[in-house]
């Protein structure tokens, strides 16, 4: 591949100084406080008295260049030529005068960019590649998210939740989308079907064997050819063998289901960070709009909205009311699959008589 005439890359990671809105640069490290004049707008005040308004809007993350150019047009015309993106693929356009806020919002919304996602709203769903690009996806994260955000549109645009709500969606159990208040993740339910003809050529067998978290894979001769064998009793259908060995087909139109997890929290506010927990599984992977998944997500969200106290994140709320009541209030069944039996699983068992009746 390396041809002599090719350009040598300039290896350098660039600074952000020249991309900063001038108010950001001028008040770098010198901010005093902020408030939110309305949903979607942050107003930051610096120690010198300088002010900046940030208008946040949702995007589809995977944007066509026309969409990006439209954003740029708006930022140039109504903003001040700078755009930043949040970790949740929301765009933020900054202005240094309050009077510019309303026209900017209008322009964004007119162009189809919903303004919101700040404070105690439901922000955009962190999500992953899906069928559009990944080599191992069980579903199309972008599609699930589009359908979900359509339903949660008003929750994005308003700040009516007890605290901020972080959602994520991942197209395989690897969960590149991350921990979240509510996470939607593919959960395979059958062991991989092995295409034995291909194993010998495509897979480094010891590596695959080593990847399995439950040691369910062993090398085997199948039809006289070196292949692999899965102990289906042990297999937890995690799909970890699939990336290093594509013939171990884990994805299945019927048996790759969707699971819902709640109560993940990365921030250290109040309680320590914690992982999300399984509360529903076996949901059909039902494109193009995944109604069953959306119904469960909405049910959980609305129960939280109604029942949690201000500033309680999903995890804090459940911690207060207890899991039995979470299942009661959401109407979700508590099944044996939710009882942890993985390493360290005992730390998740109730080793006390602390019980809410």
């Amino acid at each position: 591949m390396a041809q002599p005439q090719m350009r040598k890359p300039v290896e350098y990671f660039l600074d952000n100084k020249k991309f900063l809105h001038p108010k950001f640069a001028a008040n770098y490290g010198n901010w005093k406080y902020h408030d939110r004049p309305r949903p979607g707008v942050l107003h930051h005040v610096s120690k010198t008295g300088d002010e900046v308004w940030t208008v946040r809007c949702g995007t589809q993350r995977q944007m066509d260049i026309y969409t990006i150019r439209t954003l740029c047009d708006i930022a140039d015309q109504y903003g001040e030529g700078y755009i930043r993106f949040t970790i949740r693929s929301n765009a933020e356009i900054m202005v240094s005068e309050e009077k510019k806020v309303a026209p900017l919002i209008e322009a964004l919304e007119k162009a189809g960019f919903p303004v919101g996602g700040t404070g105690n709203s439901v922000s955009m769903v962190a999500h992953t590649q899906g069928w559009l690009h990944c080599d191992i996806p069980g579903t199309d994260a972008s599609g699930v998210v589009k359908a979900m955000m359509d339903e949660l549109f008003e929750e994005f645009k308003n700040e009516q939740m007890p605290n901020r709500v972080r959602l994520s969606t991942s197209c395989c159990e690897i969960n590149c989308g991350g921990q979240a208040d509510i996470a939607v993740v593919i959960q395979h339910t059958k062991p991989p079907k092995i295409n034995h003809d291909l194993v010998a050529n495509v897979c480094e067998r010891p590596a695959v064997v080593a990847r399995c978290p439950v040691a369910a894979i062993r090398p085997a001769l199948v039809n006289g050819k070196p292949s692999l064998e899965v102990d289906e009793k042990k297999c937890v259908c995690c799909g970890a063998c699939y990336p290093p060995c594509p013939p171990m087909q884990i994805n299945d139109p019927e048996h790759s289901k969707i699971a819902i997890w709640v109560g993940g929290k990365n921030s250290n506010a109040r309680s320590k960070p914690t992982f999300h927990k399984l509360v529903a599984a076996g949901l059909p992977n039902n494109p193009p709009r995944w109604p069953e998944v959306n119904a469960v997500v909405k049910k959980i969200l609305m129960t939280y909205k109604e029942d949690a106290r201000p500033w309680e994140r999903m995890a804090d709320w459940i911690e207060r009311i207890g899991w039995p009541r979470f299942f009661e209030k959401t109407g979700l069944p508590f099944t044996k699959y939710m009882i942890d039996d993985w390493r360290g699983g005992r730390y998740n068992l109730n080793a006390s008589t602390h019980i809410r009746f």
């Binding site: 207890g322 942890d340 699983g345």
Partner: protein, 434 residues
Amino acid sequence: MAKQPHPTPMLDELEKGPWPSFITGLKRLAKEKDYVVDLLGHLEHSYETRKGYWKGGTVGVFGYGGGVIPRFTEIKDEKGEPRFKDAAEFHTLRVMPPPGMHYDTATLRKFCDIWEKYGSGLIALHGQSGDIMFQGCTTENVQKAFDEINEMGFDLGGAGPAVRTAMSCVGAARCEQSCYDEAKAHHKIINNFLDDIHRPALPYKFKFKFSGCPNDCMNSIQRADMAVIGTWRDNIQTDDELGKKWFAKHGMNELVNDVVAMCPTRALQIKDAKDVRRDNPYISAVALNDTQCLEIDNKDCVRCMHCINVMTGALAPGKDKGATILVGGKSHLKIGALMGTVIVPFMKLETEEDFDKLVELAQNIVDFFAENALEHERAGEMIERIGLANFLEGIGLDVDPNMVNNPRMNPYVRTDGWDEEVAKINAKKQAAAA
């Protein structure tokens, strides 16, 4: 008069100080018994060399496979003869005490007489598993001593891979927190397992403990393979008269700092009497004075006992009493110490049938343990190995979110039975509702 005592300069140091001295006790016995003279010599030797010198063996009573802990000296002279020959054998009889460890003096005196006759005269009240330990007996006398003790109505406890002696708290006999008849449960369960106690044939030991409330004065959660801990389902009971008395004595600061602020789930609030949510069936409240109340949201209460402990009488466990069952407590061999975990959030313990159900549950668990545990594997370790869900299925119990701190945080589970499971749960719900 016994023989000349060995010099015991180190042990003598333990006669100093105000706390009752077991050495002084042994010396008293040594005045009459050569057995104890040599025992003191034996022990002094341990103190000097910082090592123990007893080894096990096989000693028992007729008809039983356990209950005696045999000890033979390892302090030998050049010829291999015991250096403290009068204490060459020093076996212990483990005898089960009555539930709650109650005695009349006549019984204790009789124990003393028997042990004066056949043993060293040293009795431990009690061992950590609750046994009366008759300590120091020759092989020859073990059967004789046992026969007389057994004639009194007492029986040997467990040792080895057996059901073990159980313990129950003073509970209903004297304690206002008691949520079930601990002694009755203790009595019924042990009588059900006498064969498993006396003839060790389990994979490993199995212990029961009974505490009348979540204060768990028997440390059952940590030390019992099956712990039966009293609790209640309805609202905390209140007594306004005692509430006011408490408040008059302790005041608002103590109430806030020692009670309200220490409730683990913020179920307590101080309210003006008029603001108490009387229409809410899960609210109870106790008067502090003529205008103020302590309000309890019983839906948030986790029955930790704290407020009840502090304001005993003013607050009390509810009326709908019973017990929580936890399984798997044990010390740290070989995977680290385990607490018991909830397998039955609540079970009524009032009628004879209720207690029969408890015995039945215990029997199911021990049977499952006998069949499924590996050698030298405790119930808790077995559950850790096979998973709680499988254990529950094995003994026929339904899963319940009260059994977990939280649902699993990892996707390493095969869920292809999901729909079936949910159908089963719904069918049960419907059946229960019908």
